[in-house]
């Protein structure tokens, strides 16, 4: 059996770049992203899977990077908050919406909300406000009271729908 502390190889596409490293098997994906790759935009609010601050997309699905091991990302695609903006730094439309609606105060929860909301809107493009609240119930924000986050996600869904309607025409 391998030593539990013996580094294991991980190769993953992170925000479109291939990253390879040897990490201790117990290293969480969050710690690897934050300290191995310097992607400190992903935050840790509880380290036990409740607050959602650490949410990243693994092959497009939202996961809690505090409960996911770095080795589980091997051979897979990881997307973090740093991977949302365009290469020239232009904000992703969801980030724009968060800015416009002031959907953040301290911003500690924000990366997790962005990633969770993106996945939610991908799956359900036409959510009611109540449904948005339900879909985001796995993320905690202590500052905003959620309403502006719901506004931002609602606005983003509408932007997208309008865009798609434009494309279909």
């Amino acid at each position: 059996m391998r030593d539990t502390h013996e580094p294991a190889p991980v190769t993953a596409r992170v925000n479109g770049r291939t990253e390879s490293a040897a990490v201790a098997p117990r290293t969480t994906l969050a710690d690897y992203l934050r300290h191995g790759l310097g992607l400190t935009g992903t935050h840790l609010g509880c380290e036990h899977g409740v607050c959602g601050a650490c949410t990243v997309l693994l092959d497009g699905n939202p996961v809690r990077s505090c409960l996911t091991l770095a080795v589980q990302a091997h051979g897979r695609e990881v997307r973090t908050v740093e991977g949302l903006a365009a290469p020239d730094g232009t904000m992703h439309p969801l980030q724009e919406r968060f800015w416009r609606h002031q959907a953040l105060q301290c911003g500690f929860c924000t990366p997790g909300f962005l990633m969770a909301a993106l996945a939610a809107v991908d799956e359900e493009p036409d959510m009611s406000r109540d449904r948005i609240r339900e879909r985001l119930s796995g993320n905690v924000c202590r500052c905003t009271g959620y309403q502006p986050i719901v506004d931002a996600v609602e606005g983003f869904s509408a932007d997208r729908a309008a865009e798609h309607a434009g494309e279909d025409r």
Partner: protein, 811 residues
């Protein structure tokens, strides 16, 4: 006073946001210097015990360094928060427990290793032998003589006792004797905690050669900590540098000296290397300051027409094991006592407060400090009184609430309400709530519908009286530097950084108006005590008033210098000039103008064009001067549905009317209100740090300690009234108003629903179990097991107890 004419008053997007949205914010754990070591703590697993022995040999063998009190005590002066309140007593606090542990989670040893994981592994190997002592858990029982003592040397568990209110105590007795109706309530709020999403953390770097300590820390009061750390660690204040960039929420909880943070600094001093400690969530629930642990009995006396003629309250505050430095453990209790009369005419009031020492984490200030409890009790009394005298609850309030012509008004507890719209807030609230709109849905769901209202006043931007004048290193004023760069852009250095309130944005808006340079040419910086002017941090809803006030003062000074230079260049009188949108122009002749950039260029590089006696430095530090406190006010209304089968409460509508004077940025104020309401709803319905009979904390994860999630809250509808305060900008604080009133509005709404079944709840959080029990008991279906409601103090007789004058407070 112009209310809004320029950048102030606009819903400007926050300048803080892009970097956070892009994942480029810098929180404490985002910075790791080379050769950085990592710390973990061994914490007490029990509430009260003697430390018999500590064996760290295995941890040391595993390669870690372990320090205990014996190692750190020689470096650190012990501390305790002793404000100059008569009789306030507290035990010493040290970085690591020495001799005894006094609450679950108290740090006993610091373990330092090459990584956090290794430090945590090694901490598991430290063997501490405890001899358990009986735990002091119930604050009322704690005050009985003869029980176990938390601090033996104090001889009692009473930290503080005082009477507040009307000087003539017989006036209250007389009022109650004459009353047509007297109503009494016995209520409690549960211990809860700020739960900032970014846990506390510190990165300490000590330079042994220069004897300098650099501390990157998640705090709301860097300059205060600079002074406190220097004092405790025996360093010069100019050798202690505090750095803060982003802070992930604080809410009053990050305004204290914490043992683990001092221990991390001391470890860096002993090791001569950077040491980082990042708290985990269990540690935060165990060791962050806690709040709202109040038990109150109160009674109100009314005349036949519903006029309030007297009020009394009996309060026991559970202060926990230590009095935090420098704010102390008594602020919350004092404000429960002194805010209770609220926006109402209360001619006679007496209040008895006792603060108990128990084996729990220290109680300190948390958003709206004491206000939520005071307002809850007063508003519950008013609803019961309305039932007793058969008046509509709004009408009863209307008959007693202050009218504009009565302001300024000195409350029976000694607070001076400087300005406000108490009556109008109530009327606007009543207009906006339409319970009928929700009746059909409630009927369809078979739930009980209830509406609750709560009117409030709130201490904001208090002056030096509360802390500084009582001996703490907490000042009232703040300094802000404004400087114009050679290209005509402006840089603003804030003494007080924020933790998400958007202070950079609001400061830029204020400076834009007072300097005449557009918002987007202003850069705001904060967060390094070595280079920033002095500020006392964010607390008591003060930043908008104090920091913006100081920024405006600095901007005006720099503007005057620019005008003098421009007057010389344009050969006109300075008094004929104005600066608008980055251009200096002759008032009334907008074509005769020069750019601010030109003035700035001359002031920096072409001073030979100017007379010798002209001041050319386009930089100034402004300070805030204003009244010692300004009160905001408003009213909250909640509509709830109570499900009789599950006991669940759902908030279906929420309205807040808020008067915080002139609004600098309405979106930011709205955000403050919504966030505060969310925290207030959390306290009303969900949040409870549950200590069992042995003082063991049962809620040490976010699965047990419940926070409001998105589905727990409705959209919150906000109405603003702008009654200017007598401060320089007409602004009042707004950060805590949401949290202050929400618990009362929600509680009254639930009781309004339950009253249809003759039931009531009296304790927060209003859990489903408490609702079901209340419904069953009202129907004579008694439960076999005892209720989980805490004991509430009995009345005590006012004899020769000490009495305190009550100035401003911590909002």
């Amino acid at each position: 006073m112009t209310l809004t004419d320029g950048w102030v008053g606009r819903r400007v997007r926050r300048s803080e946001d892009p970097k956070i949205l892009l994942g480029r914010g810098r929180f404490v754990d985002d910075v790791r210097p080379t050769r950085c070591l990592h710390a973990a703590f061994v914490r007490s697993p029990v509430a009260h015990a003697t430390i018999v022995a500590t064996d760290a040999s295995e941890a040391v063998q595993a390669g870690a360094t372990v320090f205990t009190a014996a190692d750190l005590d020689p470096l650190c002066t012990p501390w305790k928060g002793l404000l100059d309140w008569p009789g306030l007593a507290a035990g010493d606090q040290r970085p690591l427990a020495s001799g005894k542990v006094r609450h679950v989670g108290e740090p006993v040893a610091i373990v330092v290793a090459a990584s956090r994981a290794e430090a945590e592994d090694a901490a598991e190997l430290v063997d501490v032998e405890y001899a358990e002592l009986p735990a002091v858990v119930d604050p009322i029982a704690a005050l009985e003589p003869g029980g176990p003592l938390v601090h033996d040397e104090l001889g009692a568990n009473l930290a503080f006792e005082s009477w507040f209110g009307t000087k003539d105590e017989h006036a209250v007795d007389a009022a109650f004797a004459q009353a047509t109706a007297v109503v009494e309530v016995a209520m409690s709020t549960a211990r809860h905690t700020a739960t900032a999403m970014e846990p506390r953390g510190v990165l300490a770097e000590y330079d042994p050669v220069a004897r300098e300590l650099t501390v990157r820390i998640s705090t709301q009061a860097p300059n205060m900590l600079q002074s406190a750390f220097a004092e405790i660690l025996g360093l010069r204040e100019n050798s202690v540098r505090m750095l803060t960039d982003e802070v992930g929420g604080a809410f009053g909880m990050k305004a204290h000296v914490y043992p683990d943070e001092i221990a991390t600094c001391a470890a860096s001093m002993l090791l001569g290397r950077p040491v980082s400690w990042i708290q985990d969530r269990a540690e935060s629930l165990q060791s962050d300051t806690q709040a709202r642990d109040e038990r109150v009995r109160a009674a109100i006396a009314l005349a036949g027409d519903g006029t309030i003629i007297g009020l009394r309250s009996e309060i026991v505050s559970d202060g926990g094991a230590y009095s935090v430095y420098p704010r102390s453990m008594v602020t919350e209790g004092i404000q429960v006592s002194t805010i209770m009369p609220g926006p109402y005419r209360v001619p006679a009031y007496r209040s008895h407060l006792r603060v108990a020492i128990t084996n729990k984490a220290p109680l300190a200030v948390y958003r709206a400090v004491g206000h939520p409890v005071a307002i809850l009790v007063m508003e519950a009394l008013l609803d019961e009184a309305a039932r007793a005298v058969k008046l509509d609850p709004a009408e009863l309030r209307r008959r007693n609430i202050l009218k504009p012509e009565e302001l300024p008004y000195t409350s029976a507890a000694g607070h001076v309400y400087d300005s406000g719209s108490h009556r109008e807030s109530l009327e606007r609230l009543v207009d906006r709530i339409d319970i009928g709109r929700h009746a059909a849905a409630a009927r369809r769901r078979g739930t009980l519908l209830g509406v609750g209202i709560a009117c409030f006043v709130e201490v904001t931007a208090p002056g030096v009286a509360f802390y500084g004048a009582r001996g703490a290193p907490i000042t009232a004023h703040d300094q802000v530097e404004v400087r114009v760069e050679p290209d005509g852009t402006a840089t603003v250095l804030l003494g007080t950084p924020g933790q998400g309130q958007g202070l950079h944005t609001t400061a830029a808006q204020v400076v834009a108006d007072h300097l005449g340079i557009p918002f987007d040419r202003i850069n705001v910086l904060s967060g390094d005590t070595r280079t920033m002017p002095h500020g006392t941090g964010v607390w008591a809803s003060r930043s908008a008033v104090v920091s913006s006030g100081a920024a405006a003062a600095a901007a005006r000074e720099v503007k005057a210098r620019m005008l003098a230079i421009a007057a010389h260049l344009m050969e006109v009188d300075a008094s004929d000039l104005e600066i608008v949108d980055g251009a200096v122009r002759v008032a009334g002749a907008p074509d005769s103008r020069i750019d601010v950039a030109h003035v700035a260029e001359v002031a920096h590089w072409r001073t030979h064009q100017l007379p010798d006696d002209l001041q050319v430095a386009l930089a100034a530090i402004g300070e805030y001067r204003g009244p010692n406190v300004t009160f905001n006010n408003g009213a909250h209304g909640a509509v709830v549905e109570v499900d009789e089968s599950s006991g669940l409460v759902r908030i279906v509508d929420y309205v807040c009317v808020e008067d915080c004077g002139v609004l600098i940025n309405p979106d930011i104020v709205d955000g403050q209100i919504r966030g505060g309401v969310a925290q207030g709803v959390g306290g009303a319905l969900l949040e409870r740090l549950h200590y069992d009979g042995d003082g063991q904390l049962l809620t040490s994860t976010l699965l047990d300690y419940l926070l409001p999630a998105a589905p727990d809250l409705p959209d919150i509808r906000i109405t603003h009234i702008e009654t200017p305060s007598p401060t320089p900008l007409g602004v009042k604080g707004a950060g805590e108003a949401g949290a202050a009133g929400a618990p009362a509005a929600v509680h009254n709404a639930v009781n309004n629903a339950l009253a249809q079944r003759g039931a009531r709840v009296w304790h927060q959080p209003i859990t489903p179990e408490r609702v079901l029990r209340a419904l069953d008991e009202a129907a004579d279906r008694l439960w076999p097991d005892r209720s989980d409601a805490p004991a509430v103090p009995r009345w005590t007789d006012p004899e020769s107890e000490p009495e305190c004058d009550q100035p401003e407070g911590d909002g």
